[in-house]
């Protein structure tokens, strides 16, 4: 199925002109600074605000033609918005009782989000993280065909965010509900997104599969200090005697420090741009474990830091970004289309379960 969204708001602030398409199920991350139109967009999709024109099509169903209470679009608000006069259990059941029976089971949600100890409590007796988990459960239980999340972690401190992120990761795969996830935190994007929509001042800067967009050196993302590419792969095998694991990404194999995951487990590999070195030919006598053949897709000069951002299309599929000095780029004679080796330290690859 495909989700396609077109929203235009010209005559009222904030001005928004957005169109994107994404495959579903999957997580579509709307990424942009505050004021870039994320909430406006979500409210319009949910039907809580009326832009000048809107079209939301999910697998051939025109959702924008339905009244908000019949759209079956779940919404997790930034502040949770739990009903203060109801217990956690009654909050969870609010949408569930009003929905047709569907694939999302009450016990599954309580299990997945670890809510069983909270059921009898009232919202004002919950911590911020607990409240957000209940809000997510409540939205899921209304059997939504689409789930909207508006910076659900932004009101939480780092410890609480780390507590909830694994639940969100699990959510991606547990129920086949497409999710639109608005955030301005890059780590949430790299961890959760399948499709990335970059927003700025109400406009779409770029939209597409996460790996592709993160590797585009012409976008402001690549110029950020924490710029990184994400590869998706599966655990191929373990080499306990060398304390290494092999991860298959497309037809490439990356070696990483031994991971505690069964063979076949899907993983995300986050590779920071500043940790990718480039070499024209094989190098020996060096500690780097991974040498991956690639072709240079694009080179962008970043004024800040006198750096060159190099987009690498791996021959085995997938993309990386490398940030090197301008001087190095000139010495190696880098240019578009050049075959090259990307050197990636095993220790610099960050792994997450996908």
């Amino acid at each position: 199925m495909t989700l396609s969204v077109v929203v235009e708001q010209r005559f009222r602030a904030p001005a928004v002109s957005v169109a994107f398409k994404a495959p579903t199920p999957g997580v579509i991350a709307l990424f942009g600074p505050s004021g870039s139109g994320k909430s406006t967009l979500l409210n319009a999709i949910a039907g809580l605000a009326r832009p000048d024109s809107i079209r939301v099509d999910l697998g051939g169903v025109a959702l924008h033609l339905l009244p908000p209470s019949r759209r079956r679009i779940g919404y997790v608000f930034q502040e949770g918005r739990l009903f203060p006069h109801l217990t956690v259990k009654a909050n969870l059941r609010y949408g569930w009782m009003r929905a047709q029976p569907g694939p999302v089971g009450y016990d599954d949600v309580v299990d997945l989000l670890g809510l069983s100890a909270l059921l009898g409590r009232r919202p004002h007796n919950l911590s911020g993280g607990e409240r957000q988990r209940v809000a997510i459960g409540r939205a899921l239980l209304s059997q939504p065909r689409l789930l909207l999340m508006d910076e659900p972690l932004s009101a939480l401190d780092q410890a609480r965010r780390d507590e909830i992120l694994p639940y969100l990761s699990r959510l991606r795969t547990a129920f086949a509900v497409p999710i639109i996830y608005a955030t301005h935190a890059m780590d949430e994007v790299t961890r959760l997104a399948d499709t990335l929509v970059l927003l700025d001042a109400g406009q779409v800067l770029a939209a597409g599969p996460l790996g592709e967009i993160l590797a585009r050196v012409d976008l402001p993302l690549a110029a950020r200090d924490d710029a990184a590419a994400v590869l998706r792969g599966k655990v191929l095998s373990h080499l306990p005697e060398r304390r290494l694991s092999a991860i298959a990404c497309g037809s490439d194999v990356l070696w990483v420090p031994l991971v505690d995951a069964a063979e076949g487990t899907a993983l995300r590999l986050r590779v920071p741009a500043r940790d990718v070195m480039l070499a024209l030919r094989e190098v020996s006598g060096i500690s780097v474990t991974n040498m991956i053949a690639a072709e240079i897709g694009a080179i962008q000069v970043a004024e800040a830091g006198h750096a060159a951002l190099v987009e690498l299309d791996l021959l085995g599929g997938g993309q990386l970004v490398s940030r090197i000095t301008l001087d190095a780029a000139e010495r190696l004679g880098l240019r578009r289309g050049l075959r090259i080796l990307a050197l990636v330290k095993a220790m610099s690859v960050e792994l997450q379960k996908d």
Partner: protein
């Protein structure tokens, strides 16, 4: 009789409060002014206006008499009705305060969870406004005990039927040697007023938020 007055006023007060707190519509200002008129006008004027409209020869009063065989003037029902009109602005204010204290985001959340307008009103708005509604009840009940001007004009002062506390006190003072009765009734009136104030203060949303 005061109970009946509150009974008259409450459903209408909730309806009007909801209308007034839910944004703009044509005639909102007029409705607001009409509701608050009894608070500003001398009660005798209110009673006289009621007499004009709901009297036996008044436009509404005549219809009520002909179709429903209901007569309000100089009856207990009429006294309750006049009280209801007088306490209406007080009740609307109390209910409106509690309605406006509700986060509109909760209504939106309920909407995304599949609840329709009426459903949301019953499951979210009303329960959250309940303290305000209760406060309005107590306030209205207490205030209606003390109605004088509108009642005496519209429904007269018939012992056992249309006589409110202050009417009784007034009548007692008018009777030679009635001071003792008047004093007892006054003490009763003070007690009722105090109880009413305390209870409505406990129930008010401002206090609950602390």
């Amino acid at each position: 009789m005061s109970l009946r007055a509150v009974g008259f006023a409450l459903p209408a007060a909730i309806l009007v409060s909801v209308l007034l707190s839910w944004g703009r519509f044509p005639g909102r200002f007029l409705l607001n002014a009409l509701v608050h008129l009894p608070l500003m006008l001398p009660p005798v004027v209110t009673g006289w206006l009621l007499l004009l409209v709901f009297g036996v020869n008044g436009p509404v009063g005549a219809l009520l008499e002909r179709w429903l065989h209901v007569r309000l003037v100089f009856t207990e029902a009429g006294a309750a009705f006049a009280c209801g009109v007088m306490i209406f602005p007080l009740m609307v204010r109390a209910i409106r305060l509690s309605l406006e204290a509700i986060d509109p985001g909760l209504d939106q959340a309920a909407r995304t969870l599949g609840a329709g307008v009426l459903d949301r009103f019953c499951s979210i708005t009303l329960p959250l406004a309940a303290p305000g509604v209760l406060a309005a009840l107590v306030l209205g009940y207490t205030a209606s005990l003390g109605e004088f001007g509108a009642v005496i004009t519209f429904a007269a002062s018939i012992p056992g039927q249309t006589r409110t506390l202050p009417l009784a006190i007034y009548a007692a003072l008018d009777t030679p040697g009635g001071e003792a009765v008047a004093a007892r009734l006054s003490v009763l009136s003070i007690c009722l007023a105090l109880i009413g104030l305390v209870v409505s203060e406990i129930l008010s949303p401002a206090r609950r938020r602390q």
